[in-house]
Subunit: 384 residues, 4 copies
């Protein structure tokens, strides 16, 4: 089986996200890193791309890359957009319109309107537009979704999600540009911590329950007084399948390292999972005992089996979750090429619609925060 050809925009020398994507895309030998416009400085991007073996397909700009790849018979099969947030919309849209499959880093856009535009363009193009909520690639998150879908905990009553860490708690570090821009509306938009981390938790709540957020109410605060945007938020929400939701996100919770976790409570059982120890899923059927489900154990769901790589008892971590998104995409692309339905267990990667919903939630959280926690419609207008 020949590898698919993969390109990347952004992720230049020294970035964190670049190696993460290359690791994820390369892990299963499904994709060959073939083309890239890795830096907004043309020379640097070309040099780095050549260093990484891209040869003539190391481009100086995304526009050059779009033009160059479009002109080839052997154009890339997938492009990953990992540029600064405010450029995602433009680049994603352009590549979709040109007929490329796209994986866009989150946030997909800066506004709801842009998000709706991407959804429309993606639908019109018939191409794949994925958004990188990478935590949804963990094997036991997939299994959690499968358990809920098949009724293991009954109708879902309540979801409790958290993404609360303490890495922006230091007042002495608040003016460090690496941190500061995140809380500056001019650079970050309408939301800081919720837009950066909270939406991962909110996506996960939707992902595992199979329900979408309909309404929400938010309490947003800036614990560091110099910040305009929030560094802590509590969001209550309602989902379209009837579930109640609670979501806490923070960047000032000293002593917590990452803090993404989810608990789901249904009529006949409860589940909980935490990103920092992702190889265990805790399950309690109503009236019984708490059980520890281990990644890799026998007789899990097809969704879990497909996304596990090493035997039970060995830790798997975040890079493999990330890689699972790429594995899904490889299957989606091949199915597309072969004109066949894709493996449903692989059709779990987050899509443009998810990116749009997140953006609608970000705006609703920001607005509700300003309005003393007023309950607002959290759906994008096109899905109301």
């Amino acid at each position: 089986m020949t590898k698919l050809k993969w390109g990347m925009i952004g992720g230049g020398e020294g970035s964190q996200i670049g190696p993460a994507h290359r690791l994820g895309a390369g892990l299963d030998s499904l994709f060959e890193f073939t083309a890239g416009a890795l830096d907004h400085r043309p020379d640097a991007g070309i040099a780095y791309g050549q260093k990484l073996g891209l040869g003539e397909r190391a481009y100086g700009s995304w526009q050059d890359m779009l033009a160059g790849e479009k002109a080839r018979d052997d154009a890339i099969d997938l492009v990953t957009v990992a540029t600064p947030n405010n450029t995602h919309f433009e680049i994603t849209k352009a590549f979709l319109e040109a007929g490329f499959n796209v994986l866009c880093e989150k946030p997909m856009t800066m506004t709801v309107e842009e998000g709706e535009e991407i959804v429309r363009v993606a639908q019109a193009s018939g191409k794949i537009c994925a958004v990188n909520y990478g935590y949804s690639g963990y094997s036991l998150v997939r299994h959690m979704k499968a358990m809920i879908a098949r009724g293991d905990i009954g109708k879902v009553r309540l979801v409790h999600a958290e993404f609360a860490h303490g890495h922006h708690a230091d007042a002495a570090d608040a003016d460090n540009p690496r941190v500061r821009w995140r809380y500056d509306p001019a650079q970050a938009g309408v939301s800081a911590q919720f837009a950066d981390c909270g939406i991962h938790a909110l996506h996960m709540a939707s992902f595992v329950t199979g329900q979408e957020v309909s309404r929400l109410s938010a309490d947003t605060v800036s614990c560091l007084p110099q910040r305009v945007l929030e560094d802590d938020a509590m969001v209550n929400f309602r989902m379209d399948g009837g579930a109640v939701g609670r979501l806490w996100t923070s960047s000032i919770a000293i002593g917590r390292q990452h803090g993404l976790g989810i608990q789901v409570f249904g009529e006949t059982g409860g589940l909980r999972w935490s990103q920092e120890h992702p190889n265990q899923l805790y399950y309690m059927p109503l009236g019984a005992r708490l059980q520890v489900i281990e990644r890799g154990e026998a007789n899990l769901s097809p969704e879990a089996d497909r996304t596990t790589r090493v035997t039970i008892g060995h830790a798997e971590g975040m890079p493999l979750a990330f890689a699972n998104i790429y594995t899904d995409l490889a299957e989606a692309i091949r199915a597309q090429y072969e004109g066949r339905p894709m493996d449903p267990a692989a059709n779990l990667f987050p899509k443009a619609e998810d990116g749009l919903r997140s953006m609608a939630a970000v705006y609703a959280v920001a607005e509700s925060g300003k309005q003393d926690g007023a309950w607002l419609d959290a759906r994008p207008p096109m899905f109301r």
Copy 2:
């Protein structure tokens, strides 16, 4: 040192709370169980009291007990009120007015007005009126309070408290009278889960930070449709020292056994503690590593040292926390008798003012829940 004489109202044969109080009061041999009106059925109460060795001081009603003890030279030094919630006010008030020291089970009253009346009566009487938020007796909770007071985590920015369990999640059990009354306004008042469990978490938030709740906004839901009162609530709040608060309480969180826990985040550190594993306190100073503080370790605070009974590494549990409240009260009573100031490390038992504040919070939560999460004043009128 002769023991103090202790009496109890309620806690009849078969109750859970009776043995818990007798264990707590008796643990350090500070109190002698001397008198009781243990059952609302006079004959049963007298018979059980005599079985427990109370002799003629086994009374048929609290009124008889009040009259009988008042008439004695060797009257009881402390009375515990552990009757049904809607009788706490009347009994507590009567005993305070008659000059007795009282420990009242929570909730202290059913309304804010009654709470204010108890505060007034207690202040006028000069007697002790304690309220049994027993979890505040844990040694490491005391230490957490001491650490925050002495500045170990700097100014407190945020408190996150939980008391979320799953013991009322079973729809098949919802009509069981043992469960049902809790969600019935006619019997339980304006709030179910928040009034029952949430206020423990809220008291703890105030206890450890030394700040009182000023305003709050609540999202209250009944996950079981047959319930009128809430079985899950999320409460956002603000404290008078500037801290932001989040509190989640639930009785439908299947897979969680008890679920009382607290996290406090300040400018220079974070702390977290959980009731299910009460002998460890997790502390992270800003920029350093998470540390495990063990109950009983050397060089803790006087407040911790006073409330620890076995050496480090041995588990201590809830009954000892409960006993610490009684130990505090013994010191308070002796100081009263001896006309001296009490040991400040013992002056940590919850008081009528705390019982009143809880009641004001209960009403504010219930009302905010009805008003779509409107922010309301959470203080009792007399403290505004």
Copy 3:
């Protein structure tokens, strides 16, 4: 029900063990602290006894107490011996011979011969001779025993026990008399860490499996060179029901606070429990998932139900385990008085035979350690 009368020898002012026993004996109001010879200095013992309310039954020596109590119609029902180790034999023997029920602190004796003598005396007297392996009083340890007895894990193949802490690791503290005597053969006998802690773990291995140790091989080392006796030992053993055993004990394991824990593996399941978190028992049936058994959950064994005092989710700790031994003894004494068989679920307190077996194991460990790990008979001669 009138309380039983209880006396204590040792446990003078400032001791750790005195309050622990008084707390345990008093917890359920089953015993009244009535008599004591609390200090080897007669005046101090009488003064402290009077301060604790013993009046004329505060004695100056155990001999006086024996004479005094023997002469009374209302003599004590149980005496606890909590004196220095090398006096246990003499006192226990004298009280048994005089017809008293005895609870002796561990080690019951200093030699195997003395242990056999106590067993003979106890059997001849018809009185109770208990030995305080208090950790066996934990509710979930009792449940573990019940589960194994009823076959929940099949035939036991292997037991793995540990009691490894780090409290004697500091070389700078090794000459502190509080620590030093433990490693000095003149004061401590043939073994230090194994005799002090290891035998708790070994007793627990026998207690939960219902099998006795038959042979053992030990590797004993002194990690601090100034020590004559061992501060770390690994003991392999075989049990009379066919189980293999491994036991590690240490006092130099920095970072471990207490370190008593046990794992039992049978043909059809495994169990594990740790003293530092005693309210959970981990159980895995063969081919299934790890389950968390919670203290206080519904439908546990009678042995567990009898020894649990607060509802599920609340921590119970070591003092309550200790109290369970006294509760067992109260039932044993009452059954004795009433000429009826005792509740089998209470007949779990450790007995003179257990104290003897421990002493035989201590000598076998010490001897095997000297003989490069030779396999030796670990049974007392009278049980061979």
Copy 4:
């Protein structure tokens, strides 16, 4: 930087080890999978190799591969030997002698004599002969080694290592050929569980302390009676730097999933780490508190920094540890080519000497087990 060329022997279609090595070797894009003899059936091996893109360098046997690669100017830079255990010696030796760098799966050989031969051949060849103790690639294991080397816990007194799982506990499964061969001397050699798992733990004990095992005593048992070789072993040992060691390995410990863990206790501190949760390392300096060291935190050792790939709080797992071995090897190979000393922080991959020492330990354990735990020299003759 052009990729190094990598070949593999064994790891055919359906094997577990093949994908694990391909994932590890490919993770950082340092190696290109170039050649392979993937199956002992020539046709199957060639077909699978071609399917994986090896083209003409898909060989039918390791002999063909050796000949083929030797003849090329662009021969592979590294070959991984992942064939059945009893072929490792022959293949590794042949490739070394032909001037190739080799990574051999463990066990490196079936006898000590073979192990010594490999060491001699490797030394004579000047080539790299690595052995895949992959768990030593975890970032925090590397950091543990660095901490001990720089004296953070003082002189090491004791090491406690475990590798105890329950995956061969089912008697009904014991005759399953997949399990059975492991306990059959004809196929597995002199040891089963110790040779399979125990040596990982023993290697780790040496790796982190920097000390080699000199003497040992073993208690080996077959808990399932049908087994000739041991399924459980306890090994006591002494190290050449003075440390005492304890090592428990089991395959019948139901309820444990993997069970590799290590604790090291020194004069001034203790450390512990567990493979199932590899992103935390627990450290207690003498007289202080337990601290949680997180993978990826700031200011760790160069050895840790070099082997961490994602930011703090994200889980990393076993495949990345495995990849770190390959990353070390890439650096070693490049340094070899460039005639420069290699980065010392990369020079941590296990070597032929380690494979030899493991084999000597396996024979000593087997022999000591037969001799009732006699203490035996655990060193290979050539290192005595």
